[in-house]
């Protein structure tokens, strides 16, 4: 039976939850989140080049990854606050391409053992404001990663390609 992704985002709140079960032990799902070579293989859509520039998966370490399509580079970065194998990852998440810096998302991803070689991923993102949360999803900052960045291109049009240059 296929596993299904559940997203919960209550109106007017500044958090969202993503829940998904996997037919694999949590040790493997954890590794797929913390090893660059594995992370590159599943994050983002197939038609985009996904590059992990840096992934220091330990408390105080940082990460940065790039999605490239055509001449555009979309960079995301953050700092790990806790990396506890194979249970949870806590850290920040920022999109470099926003017109204004400082819109940091605090993310907690938990991997729950369900027995029988299965597990459940429970992710919580806490945004600085309701507007940040709704703006992110509406603008396609996340969705764009998967559907070809159409919305993101709109968002970014007119912006200087400073992120491309610094990437």
């Amino acid at each position: 039976m296929a596993n299904k992704t559940t997203v919960t985002a209550e109106a007017g709140k500044q958090e969202l939850f993503v829940i998904r079960e996997f037919d694999a032990p949590r040790e493997l799902v954890f590794r797929a989140h913390t090893e660059a070579a594995l992370y590159e293989k599943w994050v983002g859509p197939d038609d985009l080049a996904m590059t992990v520039e840096k992934m220091e998966a330990h408390a105080g370490g940082s990460y940065r990854f790039l999605h490239t399509r055509g001449g555009h580079v979309y960079a995301f970065h953050g700092v790990y606050h806790e990396v506890l194998a194979p249970e949870r990852i806590i850290g920040t998440f920022e999109f470099d391409g926003l017109p204004e810096a400082g819109h940091v998302i605090m993310g907690t991803t938990k991997f729950e053992d369900l027995g029988g070689g299965r597990c459940r991923l429970v992710h919580q993102s806490v945004f600085q404001s309701v507007q940040d949360r709704d703006g992110m999803v509406q603008s396609g900052m996340e969705r764009g990663v998967v559907d070809g960045y159409n919305k993101l291109d709109e968002l970014l049009s007119g912006l200087r390609e400073t992120n491309t240059a610094s990437a």
Partner: protein
């Protein structure tokens, strides 16, 4: 003010919840349910009207408020789209995990990759 900003305020969410529970309410009934002054509540109702989260019908001297469900559907819509994109990503992860499981079985002494 957009839908989401209008929803971000707790008093306005309470008003919407009460309207949804009661079907409709007069402005007077809405005022009665809050400790805040009628002008303060009136200001919240104005924001809700402008965000099209509520609609008003004038009945004699009364203004009757109803929830307008359309903007709510907008929120549901993007949540569904967001879930669909995460699902695509997780299906890629499913495939990777199958490979990792197979590798673990076939070559347990070698590290992955």
């Amino acid at each position: 003010m957009d839908t989401f900003a209008a929803l971000a305020e707790p008093t306005r969410r309470t008003i919407l919840e009460r309207l949804a529970a009661n079907g409709n309410m007069s402005a007077t009934d809405i005022y009665r349910g809050f400790k805040s002054s009628p002008p303060a509540i009136s200001q919240h109702l104005k924001v809700l009207r402008e965000a099209k989260l509520v609609r008003v019908e004038k009945r004699a001297q009364q203004r009757i408020y109803y929830v307008n469900p359309e903007p709510m559907k907008e929120l549901e819509k993007w949540i569904k789209q967001f879930a669909a994109t995460k699902e695509q990503e997780f299906q890629s992860l499913d495939k990777l995990l199958e490979t990792m499981k197979a590798d673990a079985e076939n070559a347990p002494l070698l590290p992955f990759e």
